[in-house]
């Protein structure tokens, strides 16, 4: 039914893998194009005329840098490549999925759960590396009062039992919500377009495909932004 499924017929490799590898190839091609332009003698100071791959990626990069500085604080450069990869990959995967005849990678739960798991592992690792065992203090809620024993100040967190459960559930649900939000948004748009093609094949499916382009951008943006917010939350001090 789509290009990647015929590849699956031919080779036996599931079509999701073909689609995901195709998206990775497109991202790589875009990255290499930008890098080639930046290797110009003047260091790439002069932008290209009109709309080119490099200009589009520079615009997206500027927006992402602004968001990263705002959400991840002064050390955003360390984590920026990961978040920017998330954004670019999911954006291009969503857009490729909109083209009729090409199967969307993000419509398959494997891809979205993989990215959600990666994002979760990265921000938990960031928190653990930053705070060590103090990362557990994040799960214990605000400190109600301080107690001075022998010259050191202890923050007493009385609400820890309640807060631990709430925080644990909300942390675990981060993976779930990231994955399901992306997956359900992209498959819902595909299904709606399919239904409208069955009902009114003339103009209305095109409108919903336009909505699908908007949704593609928004979902990539929100996935990247939420990853940045989680990393920022893991980096900051406990209450």
């Amino acid at each position: 039914m789509n290009v990647f499924e015929s590849l699956e017929h031919a080779t036996g490799v599931p079509w999701v893998l073909w689609s995901a590898s195709f998206v990775a190839a497109v991202v790589l091609a875009a990255a290499l194009t930008v890098r080639a332009r930046l290797a110009a003698p003047d260091g790439g100071l002069v932008p290209d005329a009109g709309v080119s791959v490099r200009n589009v990626i520079e615009m997206l990069g500027e927006m992402l840098v602004g968001l990263a500085e705002q959400n991840m604080g002064p050390r955003w450069r360390t984590y920026f490549p990961f978040v920017a990869s998330i954004f670019l990959y999911i954006l291009i995967a969503n857009l490729i999925g909109l083209v009729p005849g090409m199967g969307g990678a993000t419509r398959n739960p494997n891809v979205t759960w993989a990215w959600a798991t990666l994002s979760f592992v990265v921000h938990q690792y960031v928190g653990i590396r930053e705070h060590g065992f103090g990362y557990l203090l994040h799960f214990m809620g605000p400190s109600l009062f301080d107690v001075k024993i022998g010259g050191r100040t202890f923050h007493v967190r009385l609400l820890a039992p309640i807060y631990a459960v709430i925080e644990l559930i909300s942390h675990v649900s981060r993976v779930f919500t990231l994955a399901v939000r992306l997956l359900a948004n992209m498959s819902a748009d595909a299904i709606v377009v399919g239904v409208w093609i069955a009902l009114v094949p003339a103009v209305v499916p095109a409108l919903f495909m336009g909505l699908g382009v908007l949704v593609a951008f928004l979902q990539a943006y929100v996935f990247a932004m939420l990853s940045m917010i989680y990393i920022g939350l893991a980096l900051e001090e406990a209450h």
């Binding site: 399901v180 939000r181 359900a184 948004n185 932004m225």
Partner: protein
């Protein structure tokens, strides 16, 4: 006139034949919970859409009022607007997912 009446009568009989054919009882292929699943699926996405509509409507209204008050800060407000809309939308999407899961159990 009798010929015309005869033609009318026969045409009506042929027209209403499918009714007689479908008078046999349908095979009961569904289990007892089918209407429950269908009702649940409809209510899931319906109520989720209701809540999402109210939430996003409030967000859009407040953002518009904020931009009208202070057009200079429209950029920052737009960022929060988009983030709020997408997060509220995701709740409606969870309702849709439950609707899918229930609809798959029908029949």
């Amino acid at each position: 006139m009798r010929k015309f009446a005869k033609i009318c009568l026969w045409s009506l009989t042929v027209l209403l034949l499918p009714l007689a054919a479908s008078a046999q009882p349908e095979a009961a292929a569904a289990d007892a919970g089918t209407w429950g699943y269908a009702l649940g699926a409809g209510l899931a996405i319906g109520l989720a859409g209701l809540g999402c509509g109210i939430g996003q409507g409030l967000t859009a209204g407040n953002t518009t009022a904020g931009i009208a008050r202070n057009p200079g800060a429209a950029g920052a407000m737009f960022t929060n607007f988009i983030l709020g809309m997408v997060l509220i939308e995701s709740i409606a999407i969870y309702g849709l997912v439950i609707g899918y899961l229930l609809q798959a159990k029908i029949g």
